[in-house]
């Protein structure tokens, strides 16, 4: 990776603007930071141009607003990212669903086997 921030990502405007406070990015949960990093990393690895992601995000935001769905910025970000990786042929919907189900089972098991360690699944920043 280039080791610098990309202004096209950082400066996305208006409804696409990244949530910030005092100019800094705000992630309300660790998964939001991961979802952010995933979308940027895939772009940096050349798997899609940033425009494809930002257009998908704009569509997702517009659809949610239209339907009155009160999802958060990064929930919409994640949904549009899932659609994009499938559209780009990086995975199929079936694969993703299967891995999500598997992930849910793992977490379930983990909670049963390591009750003393409830926060092990969070990436803390």
């Amino acid at each position: 990776m280039a080791g610098t921030t990309d202004r096209r990502i950082a400066n996305m405007d208006e409804q696409l603007a990244l949530p910030r406070k005092n100019g800094e990015l705000v992630f309300e949960a660790p998964w939001e930071a991961r979802a952010f990093g995933l979308a940027v990393a895939l772009n940096e690895n050349g798997l899609y141009p940033w425009r494809d992601f930002s257009q998908g995000l704009a569509t997702e935001i517009a659809t949610a607003e239209q339907k009155g769905i009160s999802s958060s910025y990064y929930e919409r970000w994640l949904t549009s990212l899932e659609k994009l990786v499938i559209d780009k042929g990086l995975m199929t919907r079936e694969e993703l669903d299967a891995w999500t189900a598997k992930q849910a089972l793992n977490e379930h098991d983990d909670h049963h086997h390591h009750d003393d360690h409830t926060h092990h699944n969070l990436h803390v920043h």
Binding site: T4, R7, G23, E24, L38, L78, Q103
Partner: protein, 210 residues
């Protein structure tokens, strides 16, 4: 876009989103399209470089190191480069010192020139036509709207950035912070203070205890 974070539906959506994100990451790693380290690195980079942290370091150093402050006011570009930060696309950096009698405010009346490597991203209002046109005509009124009532005795100077010169305000060090170190001062310095629309406040614990 504030969101209410109560209600079991929302909690479920959060749990699902966390799971979906993990599954997506794990699958992309499995396919060799991404590594976990790269994601860590990107998040760290954007969290650090996007904010006004670099500018805050410059201000805190100037407050605690008089020789540095002198160099900073004489040649902003070079003094900022000493800390490893470069200006925007080669634009010259000029640092404006606030004093008990003069306060500085930065604007870009033509577009939205901004020293982004130092201050991070410009706030939306900085780019607005209202700020760009009004801060020049009636700075005192605009500052009052930001919640800062400046006494008439203080002269306000408004500086118009352009593609060659980017300005940054060196705010006054708040009273009661004389014993604080550079590292303790840094988090007090906000983006708005370096644009000149807010005062740097001493930490709550130090306020009113003089």
């Amino acid at each position: 876009m504030p969101h209410e974070h109560h209600g079991s539906e929302h909690i479920q959506a959060e749990i699902d989103a966390a799971l979906r994100t993990k599954a997506l990451e794990a699958l992309l790693v499995e396919k060799g399209l991404i590594t976990t380290d790269v994601i860590d690195e990107i998040v760290r980079l954007y969290e650090q470089d996007i904010g006004p942290l670099n500018g805050a370091k410059v201000v805190a150093k100037a407050w605690t190191d008089p020789a540095y402050k002198q160099r900073l006011l004489e040649d902003g570009t070079a003094a900022i480069a000493e800390l490893g930060f470069t200006g925007s696309q080669g634009a010259e950096m000029v640092v404006l010192e606030d004093t008990p009698t003069v306060h500085n405010v930065v604007v870009c009346t033509l577009c939205s020139c901004y020293p982004w490597p130092i201050l991070g991203l410009p706030p939306t209002w900085y780019k607005s036509f209202a700020y760009r046109s009004r801060v020049v005509r009636e700075p005192r009124v605009v500052l009052r709207e930001f919640g800062w009532e400046l006494p008439e005795s203080i002269e306000i100077r408004v500086w118009d950035s352009n593609s060659e010169v980017r300005y940054m305000v060196l705010p006054e060090r708040p009273a009661g912070t004389e014993h604080l170190s550079e590292g303790e001062l840094m988090p007090l310095v906000t983006r708005d203070a370096m644009i000149g629309v807010a005062k740097v406040e001493a930490p709550q614990a130090l306020q009113g205890g003089e």
